[in-house]
Symmetry: C2
Subunit: 311 residues, 2 copies
């Protein structure tokens, strides 16, 4: 009998499920559309899991990564990208349906735990995971434990304010970090700059602008695209320097769509970050990419939450 945990990553569109052993091996994975109700989702995950027909396994627990996930209560609360309303006790619903314990946190916290258990953060006690996707998520680890805060919602670095008179954010406020530093944020920068600047750029003619198309233009030497990465790196570097003044992590890991830009992002980021650091932190804090395989990191992270709690 192989002991397994399910790692469930709930997104606005799809929900991915991984069957993961205690060493982080992904034995199986599948993806289904995220159902319109939580009840339906739980039932559909169960059906799909049973359909695999895994033999000689013992399901020990379930870990869930979900937007606006509250670790203490196991609830998903007012998630703006899900069609579920109000406060949904999702961990309890999965636990009841599957008859095993279930835990829930937001996806960035799950990624941080995954990095700690199976990735590049093994042995680190103080680090921060930054996920650069549609928004900017974060998992803050202090003394080897994820910081959940008194209410389970700590680690919302995407909503630290960079510019109080800045861009409108989905949270209702202005100038939040994620409106600049995320796959969506860099596209907003490109769109703004193309409106304002008269410089030529291949981005004007390349069709729909995405984080990927900006990266491709920058790789091909497009100066505006290179400047867009530099600006994005400056905003992120400055705010990460503030984060260092807060918890002094040994390493800050980057992960997610925009992190795929690799050195296009990392090179200017290291420069701006280092310039922005308070003297006592200069030269001490590493910036690195996550070592988890991108496609599987979310489900590995979610499963690692279950293994972390079970151990």
């Amino acid at each position: 009998m192989t002991k397994i945990a399910l790692g469930i990553d709930i997104g606005g569109t799809n929900t991915a499920v991984g069957v993961v052993d205690v060493k982080g091996n992904l034995l199986h994975r599948f993806s289904i559309p995220t159902a319109k109700s939580a009840e339906a989702l739980v039932a559909e995950v169960n059906l799909a899991y049973e359909a695999i027909g895994l033999k000689n396994v013992s399901l020990e627990g379930i870990g869930i990564g979900a937007p606006n996930g509250n670790y203490y209560k196991g609830t998903v609360e007012f998630a703006p990208n899900l069609s579920w309303k109000g406060v949904v006790p999702l961990a309890e619903m999965f636990a009841k349906h599957f008859g095993v314990p279930a835990w829930l946190t937001n996806d960035a916290n799950a990624a941080a735990i995954g990095e700690m258990q199976f990735g590049a953060a093994k042995g680190l006690r103080d680090f921060i995971m930054i996920t650069l996707g549609t928004g900017l998520g974060s998992g803050v680890v202090v003394n080897g434990e994820v910081v959940y805060g008194h209410d389970g919602f700590a680690g919302e670095l995407g909503h630290i304010v960079y510019d109080y008179d800045g861009r409108s954010c989905g949270c209702g406020r202005k100038g939040c970090l994620e409106t600049y530093a995320s796959a969506t944020g860099i596209v907003r920068t490109a769109e703004e700059w193309l409106m304002k600047e008269s410089v030529s750029s291949s981005l004007r003619t390349s069709g729909m602008i995405t984080a990927k198309s900006i990266a491709e233009a920058a790789t091909a030497g497009d100066e505006l695209a290179i400047e867009i990465f530099d600006f994005t790196a400056k905003v992120l570097g400055r705010q990460l320097a503030d984060a260092v003044a807060f918890t002094s992590p040994e390493t800050i890991f980057l992960f997610g769509g925009l992190a795929n830009a690799g050195e296009l992002l990392m090179r200017p980021l290291k420069k701006h970050f280092e310039e922005s650091l308070l003297q006592i932190f200069k030269g001490k804090i590493k910036l690195a990419f996550s070592a988890l395989p991108e496609g599987d990191a979310a489900v590995l992270g979610a499963a690692s939450l279950a293994w972390h709690e079970l151990n």
Copy 2:
């Protein structure tokens, strides 16, 4: 035999020492000028302590609060306000001289531990202590433990940047929070505004401007002074809202010179703080003053570090 710890608070001008029992009773306290060398300071503290001639006590340990104090190494490193140079292994020096274990951290962390052991933070696992003195210091507590970070220097919220084009800071950068929100910061605001604004204000004729004189003017109804408090509260409230997004504390405590302004500061601070919070945190996070007696808090905090470690 009463078990006692020494709590030593090292300032740029004076060093205060408290003899504190395990319940936080301050049995004795004295203050001496901070010596030009660490060796001399240790010897002078020892002489002054022996001169008291306490009977029937057993010295168990020493806690030290010091600027730029490194908890892990027990060192004071490149403290700008002390005449000592470089890295000074102060905890070890005290431990050797007194023959008991000694621990060291910065003064704001010591205040946080003091609040947790003897003050208003008893039983709280997630809170932040903000000291508003010459600068802005902070002690961040997560899961019941002070956040020291990987290098012992975490919790430098005074150097989170409010305005990248803002006021010059002693750290060499611009716009740090403490250049606005501290006893020194509010005086800078007053001096700047008196230069720029043509409005009448009793501050123009009240002699040297201090945090206290601004508070007195505001209490007497001086409109500029009231606006200065509102601005200071706005800057602090916004940055504390960012701090909430980071570690989601249950309470943020204020302490130190500027906190003596009481409701003059607290009333606008609560308003700006609440307005600035991310939706999920609104109405949940308390702002409060420290419950430690102001004159004794630093030595109580330092002693509490020793008791915290000894237990």
